[in-house]
Amino acid sequence: MNSLLTELPVLLIVIPLAGVPLLYFTTRSGRGTALPALAVILVVVTLLSFSIRDAMHAPVVTAAGGWQPDLGIGLQFDLLAVAAMLVTSLIVAQAILSHDETSGAQHFRTLLMLLYAGSNGLMLTQDLFNAYVFIEITSIASYALVASRQDKGGFESAFKYVVMGSFAGLLVLWGIAGLYLTTGTLDMQSLAPRFDAAQGAVPALSAAAIIAGLLIKLGQVPFHAWKADSLSGASYTVSALLSGVTTTAFFVLLLRVLSALPSLTLSLAPVLTTIASLSIITGHLMALRQPRYSRLLAYSSVAHIGYGLLAVSSGAVTAIAAGLFHILVHAIMKSSLFFLGRSFLHTGNRSDRLEAIVFPEQYRKLHVTLYVLLAMSMIGIPPVLGFTSKWYAVLETARAGYHTGAVLIALGGAVALVYYLRVGIQLVHPGLPELSSPGPASRRLPVPLAGTALILLLAVFSDRLLAFCVQAVVQLLEAV
């Protein structure tokens, strides 16, 4: 059992990978069900929950294949990984339940397993090149998922995504090569002293390239436009995955890279703060004038990741924890809002223009209630979890001395109120007459019920969740 615990980080990556042939062999004869994919997630979540106690005690460090880092690859399972992976597992599970189209379901689930494996790897690895391999897996899976609608819009969005994603990936790879060349290591644990001893512009430039690549992947200013473009062509389920799973994974990786290079992070703090502030302003103002549901949500994501980045760039432990907490809460609520969008399709209406979206007749009140709760959470109105996470972000950012940033985060909510209210009014009083030919009526309860229930229930335990995040950040900073 002891050896299984130390191998846990590898297992958390390999089990979803093994899900790919598992899905293939179990569904070769028939149409296939969602069960094998759900089973994989269940196994991962079970492993996670049984090992939280061990991770609280001390991070579980693994040398892959028995080779110590530098010779081989190091992986680390800590509270940061636990928290983020529990959130992404929830979103992946919801995505499997949400995807109810029969055509292409098999491919969808296969890609989903690959995305899951890749994002788990991103959050666990301690090796820069290994991280790049998982960036590749995660990115290619998401390009394919965006294109999986197989229409013109989907392909266009996927192409834009590929161009931006490859550019970001290239920056990261170039940075990794430069760092390896000058410091002679790929291991994040032993990078800091060698980085500080290095001379010349190349080490700092390389590290900056890695961070810039990750910021592009997160959709921060000035590379924010691709996010709305790629999310608007994807199906709602895929948009939920991209804004929930990949964003969380890249944010965790960014945290790991920043904490591996404390001296650089300190000197980059003003730059990060500026990028985060501009992202908050741009994201909210752009969201205000978007005519379509998914583009609006995408720009709102830009702003919310800006909140997280702003809190992180202040450098104080509690502020970083608050930023992490907000990013995780945002992943749940934003993906739930996208999953909610799937219900628009049940009215037979394919457009997601704001004046055309309507919830289906069945469970309309439930849908509207879910929307209101989620929107409250996004804006930051009590008593939902989005309020507390934002409250902590404002409080801790201000406490760290970033008063302008705290004001920006607080003001963002006021702008968000305007655009979420606009959508809400449309959803409560649909301006358009009912469509004459409703689509296939869904008897199933809306999927985001799970996510919404969670942000309502967990709000009670906000202080404990924040304490958990603080502990995770302390572990992260101590490890280096």
């Binding site: 050896s3 130390t6 191998e7 590898v10 297992l11 990556i13 390999v14 990978l17 093994a18 790919v20 042939p21 062999f25 070769r28 693994t62 892959a64 294949g65 028995g66 080779w67 530098d70 010779l71 081989g72 690859i73 292409g104 491919h107 296969t110 890609l111 690959l114 494996a117 790897g121 090149f129 290994n130 391999v133 998982f134 590749e136 897996i137 290619i140 899976a141 390009y143 394919a144 294109a147 999986s148 197989q150 090569a177 430069g178 390896y180 060349l181 000058t182 410091t183 002679g184 290591t185 060698r194 980085f195 001893a197 290095a198 001379q199 010349g200 512009a201 190349v202 080490p203 430039l205």
Partner: protein
């Protein structure tokens, strides 16, 4: 974009690239990277240090890279273009038709040899896989002319092989987990490393070489053939 601005952009990128390359070339190094080469023979029994790094020290990366190929094959097979390549209408000369028959066995054998000798000579699974894929793709392209489809391995069988190879890769990893307590462990499992330089040596490295060779060969086959076969 006008021609002038394109020229400015391209020359700008080139100048930037040259500066970066120069910076990298003269960059002072804090510490030299750990040199794997003197260790590989003792640790893994592989004469080819590159193979030792790919399939032993950093085998997890290789599992990831092999996954990328599987994924790309899945994606291309899924997103098949509506208009397939139009080369099927071309009539090939008899030199091509008969030449391919003569060449194919040799290409295939070369590919398999490169795969099998990955741990003792340059090459390995990825290189050998590409060579094998060349032969299957070659066959399919040449003999699919005129509308009827020909292939060495049926597309459905390709997927079966690809997934079996993936399972086998993970299986070798689990073998290491079971015997030595770490996933993809090689020498620690107690598998004899053999005499360095011989075909049967280096523990799990030849197995992983063959498995990834099959994966790459079949995966590339799926990718290319999805573009022109129904």
């Amino acid at each position: 974009m006008s021609r002038i601005s394109a020229a400015v952009l391209v020359s700008g990128i080139i100048v930037f690239g040259v500066i970066i390359a120069f910076e990298l070339a003269v960059a002072p190094r804090t510490a030299d990277p750990l040199n794997h080469a003197p260790l590989t023979l003792r640790d893994t029994g592989a004469v080819n240090a590159v193979s030792a790094i790919l399939f032993d020290y950093r085998a997890l990366d290789t599992l990831g890279e092999a996954t990328v190929i599987l994924m790309t094959a899945t994606v291309v097979a899924f997103l098949t273009p509506r208009a397939k390549a139009s080369m099927l209408a071309v009539r090939l000369s008899s030199i091509v038709l008969y030449g391919v028959v003569l060449l194919l066995p040799f290409i295939t054998i070369l590919g398999i040899a490169v795969m099998a000798h990955g741990h003792v000579s340059p090459g390995g699974g990825f290189t050998g896989g590409v060579i094998v894929a060349t032969s299957t793709v070659f066959y399919a392209v040449v003999y699919s002319v005129g509308g009827q489809q020909s292939y060495v391995i049926a597309p459905a069988a390709n997927k079966l092989i690809e997934n079996t190879a993936m399972t086998a890769f993970i299986g070798v990893g689990l073998l290491g987990l079971g015997l030595a307590g770490s996933f993809l462990a090689n020498a620690q499992t107690g598998i004899p490393l053999g005499t360095p330089g011989e075909l049967l040596s280096a523990g799990t490295i030849p197995m992983l070489n063959l498995i990834s060779g099959v994966k790459v060969g079949v995966g590339l086959g799926i990718i290319v053939m999805s573009l022109f076969l129904e």
